[in-house]
Each structure stands twice: as C-alpha cells, then as structure tokens.
C-alpha cells in the first residue's frame, strides 16, 4: 500500500483557484518530483502537506492514517496538527535556518524540545540528550558538514546552509521528506553539492517529494514525476517516461522550453 495518498485537494486564495482536484499516491522509498512553471501551485501543494496551508477540500492519508480531511474540521486543532506535521519533513527554498543557533544546535533544537515532553525525560535526561546530540552529529557528517557543526548560519555558504536544513528536517525522522525548490536560491556552483546529498537520500530509499526546476536531476533521481500547470495535474507517471516522452501538449511545451534554454544540465 502507498505510504502517501492525496485525494482531491482543492485550495483557493480569495477568488484564485490555486489547486484544483489534486490526487496522487506515493510508494514508500520512492522519490516524486513535482515540476511545472512558477505559479502552477507546486509550492502550495507542498505547503498543504505540511499544514502550512489548509486545503479547502480533500484528504491526506499517510500510512493508512487520515491526517487531514476537509470534511472534519474538528481534527484540525493546533495541538493535533502539530503531531501530524511530524510525518513530513520540510526543506525550504531559502533554508530558514535559525540564525542564533549553530549548525549543530539547529539540528538538535526540535528533537530536544520534543524529547522534553516525554514522561521519562527527567530520569533519563543525560542519556536522551546524548542520543540526540550524536544523531545530529551523524546527520551533519552524512551531509559532509562535520567540520561546520559549531558554525553559525551566516558563516556558512548557501549550499552548506541548505544541507544543515536537510539534516534538521531528517533529525525528526519524518516518513516523507519534502523539498521546496531546494536549489533555486543557490548559484550553480553550490547547487551540485545539495543535489548530491538529495541523490544520496534517494538511493538510501528515503521517501521524498521534490519540487524542482532541475529537469535533468528530476529525470535521474525521481521514480515518478508530476507535471502541474495552473493548479491542475496535467500529467503524471514514471519519471523518465514523462520527461523524455511527454504525452500532453502542455508538458511538451514546458519541457521544450527547458531544453531550448540549455538548462537540461546533467
């Protein structure tokens, strides 16, 4: 059974229909790329999954559990949403690291706060904090940042900051990692190091959803691709199939623009 089921998501901002009847599924361990031009609703979709926006209609299920159902507003209380969010990890386009904390502290902050709510925290405090710390250090090592652990965000390059942000999201052990244009705020030189990390996560069978403009990357790394335009899913399918042999006219036009501009980097 698929780990994520998204059914008929609709979202309006005022009179603008941002998302229209979005449905898709994602298998555990798979990587899904969402492509499409700016303003097509990709980011809003990702924000809906993370409860940063509330869809007007539709259902979101993770591992068989209904996390969101527009028909059941009672289940949308702040307290419950908070726990449900933890099924998803989110990496933002512009990192949003906490500037007053070091790279390591950024990664440890949320796990520590969560651990403090456990009943047995007081009795096992030292042990729990040590676990969180070594896990955070492991994650930074995995990101190739072991020597940057005690640096503050403003002392890091954009690519390093984004890798810290990825480690921070992974530290909460989400079922599904979401990336919102993770390399769009980076210059081409730094894009590579972030993509390499995401590629590694994909090979390690992390379940991921990536909103991206990097077509070559989507084609290589993703198992499935969704092409969105004007708030609707125009085409979805196996990544190579959709990108190399698009069926819909709109998808063809979109992809043609990419290869024409020479941005099909490998």
């Amino acid at each position: 059974m698929s780990i994520l089921q998204v059914q008929n998501i609709q979202k309006h901002f005022g009179n603008v229909n941002v998302l229209h009847n979005i449905s898709f599924e994602l298998e555990k361990g798979q990587t899904l790329a969402i492509i499409g031009s700016s303003g097509s609703g990709k980011t809003t979709l990702l924000r809906c999954l993370n409860f940063l926006e509330t869809p007007d209609e539709g259902r979101i299920c993770v591992a068989g559990e209904t996390l969101f159902d527009a028909k059941d507003p009672a289940a949308q209380k702040e307290k419950e949403i908070r726990r449900k969010r933890l099924h998803f990890g989110m990496v933002f386009q512009s990192f949003h690291l906490f500037p007053q904390y070091t790279a390591l502290e950024n990664v440890m902050l949320a796990p520590e706060l969560l651990a403090k709510e456990e009943k047995d925290f007081k009795s096992r405090k030292k042990e729990i904090l040590q676990d969180i710390r070594s896990r955070a250090e492991d994650l930074l090592r995995q990101m190739g940042l072991e020597d940057r652990a005690s640096h503050y965000p403003h002392e890091l390059s954009g690519g390093q900051q984004q890798r810290v942000a990825i480690a921070r999201a992974l530290a909460m052990n989400p079922d599904i990692m979401c990336f919102d244009e993770p390399t769009s705020a980076l210059d081409p030189e730094l894009t590579g190091e972030v993509l390499k990390v995401i590629r590694g996560l994909s090979q390690a069978k992390t379940t991921m959803i990536i909103v991206t403009h990097e077509m070559a990357f989507a084609r290589d790394v993703a198992d499935r691709v969704i092409f969105m335009d004007n708030g609707v899913v125009v085409e979805q399918g196996e990544a190579r199939e959709v990108i190399d042999h698009p069926k819909e006219e709109r998808t063809k036009r979109f992809l043609a623009r990419y290869s024409a501009e020479g941005s099909m980097r490998t």
């Binding site: 906490f98 706060l113 503050y152």
Partner: protein
C-alpha cells in the same frame, strides 16, 4: 555648600533611579503582553462571513477583532496625551472622582502613583517597538519551527524572541534614554526627584546653579546606559 547640594542631589538621584528601574521592571514585560494584544487575530464574529458572502456591514463585523481594537484604542489614548496629564489623572483621579485616594498619603503614595503612570505609559510605547521587532522576524522562521513540530510558545521563546531583541535594541535604547529624562515629570505631583530637589535650592538659598548641575547627573547616567546598550548590541552581534 557644594557638598550640601551634592548630597541632596545624590539622594534625589536615588529616587530617580528607583522610578526608572521600577518602570522598566514592570513595563518591559507588560509591553510584550500589550504587543500580543495588538497582534491578536481573535475574531469571534468570523463565522458571519460564512453566511454572508456579500461585502458590506457583515464583512466588517466578521473581521472585527475586539482585543486588537481595544488595545489599539488604549495605546492611542496613552500615546496621544502628555505623560504629565496622565500622571495628574492617575494620582488625583481616584480622589476626585470616587472620593477615595487609593494611593495613600505622603511621599510613598505619590511615588507609587508615579510608578503606575510611568509603567502604563511606557509599556504602550514599548509594545509598538516589540510589535515592530516581532513582525520584522521573517515568516519563514516561524514556518520552519512549525514544520519541526514546535508549539507556538516554543517558537516564540526559542526562535523569535532573541531575533526580536536583537532588532529592537536601537529603538529601545532611544526610549529608555527618554525615560531617564521623563522621570523629571514626577515633580508635578511633588515627588522629590532630581530636578525638584535641584530647583528647591532656588527658593531656599537663592542658588540657581544646583538646578543646572543636575544635568551632570543625567549625563553620567545616560552615559552609563549608552555603554550598556553598546555592550548588548555587541553581545548579540554573534548572529545575523
């Protein structure tokens, strides 16, 4: 004579310092509460918008935020009238209106009333500075906290607060330095602060220089504060 004056002024400086410190002690936290009040999104009539899609009176009612409204009116009144007037009203008001001087008699009562007026006045000014500081922290910071499963209080205290403090140090230093000199308004209800005591030598000994000499006290005090603010700013310079 100089030492007589100096000792009297030193004692008055004690009163001024107490007024200054107590005002800060209460108005710094109260200002934050007022700031949250003015940012309150609570709109109990919001449900009306579901029934009336037409713009007009119902839309206005649905968007009505009572706490935000109330707080903004209070801040308007406090910022819109002189502190001296507020001081007089707070000290004499209860006695004149209800025939009940709640402040008690003598110097103690006058001092307590002064602190109350100063706290009310300064917390309103601080609240606006706080609001600016909080709204200046990028939304992305809050969202990053949210997606990590943090609660609203956790997000405020662990993420927003320090970034806000960093932002508001310059405007706060302005306001706090103004407070140093505003303490002299307390003399309107005969609190023996610096200016009042300095002035008293005019009447008793025909000396004018003690009044102007108080300026040295203010200058030294503000000098110390300026150094302190510089230190805080440098301390918070470790992040951007």
């Amino acid at each position: 004579m100089f030492w007589t004056v100096n000792n009297a002024l030193l004692e008055a400086m004690g009163t001024t310092l107490q007024l200054f410190a107590l005002t800060l002690l209460f108005s710094l936290p109260l200002g934050l509460v007022i700031a949250f009040g003015s940012m309150s999104k609570w709109a109990p009539l919001r449900f009306l918008s579901r029934f009336f899609r037409v713009p007009g009176i119902f839309k206005g009612l649905a968007g009505f935020r009572p706490i935000h409204f109330l707080v903004d009116v209070v801040v308007w009144i406090i910022r819109g009238t002189p502190l001296m007037l507020q001081l007089l009203l707070i000290y004499f008001g209860p006695g004149l209106i209800f025939d009940n001087n709640i402040w008690g008699s003598g110097n103690g009562g006058r001092f307590v009333a002064t602190v109350a007026a100063f706290v009310l006045n300064y917390s309103c000014y601080f609240s606006v500075i706080y609001r600016g500081g909080i709204e200046g922290v990028p939304v992305g910071q809050r969202e990053a906290g949210q997606v990590l499963g943090m609660t609203r209080p956790q997000i405020f205290f662990k993420i927003t607060l320090l970034q806000m403090v960093k932002r508001i140090v310059p405007p706060m230093s302005n306001e706090i330095i103004t407070l140093v000199k505003d303490t002299s308004l307390a003399r309107i209800i005969a609190v023996s602060e610096l200016i009042k005591v300095g002035e008293s030598f005019m009447k008793s000994d025909g000396l004018i220089w003690p009044l102007f000499y108080t300026g040295v006290y203010y200058l030294v005090f503000v000098g110390v504060l300026t150094l302190l603010f510089g230190y805080v700013e440098r301390k918070l310079g470790y992040f951007r």
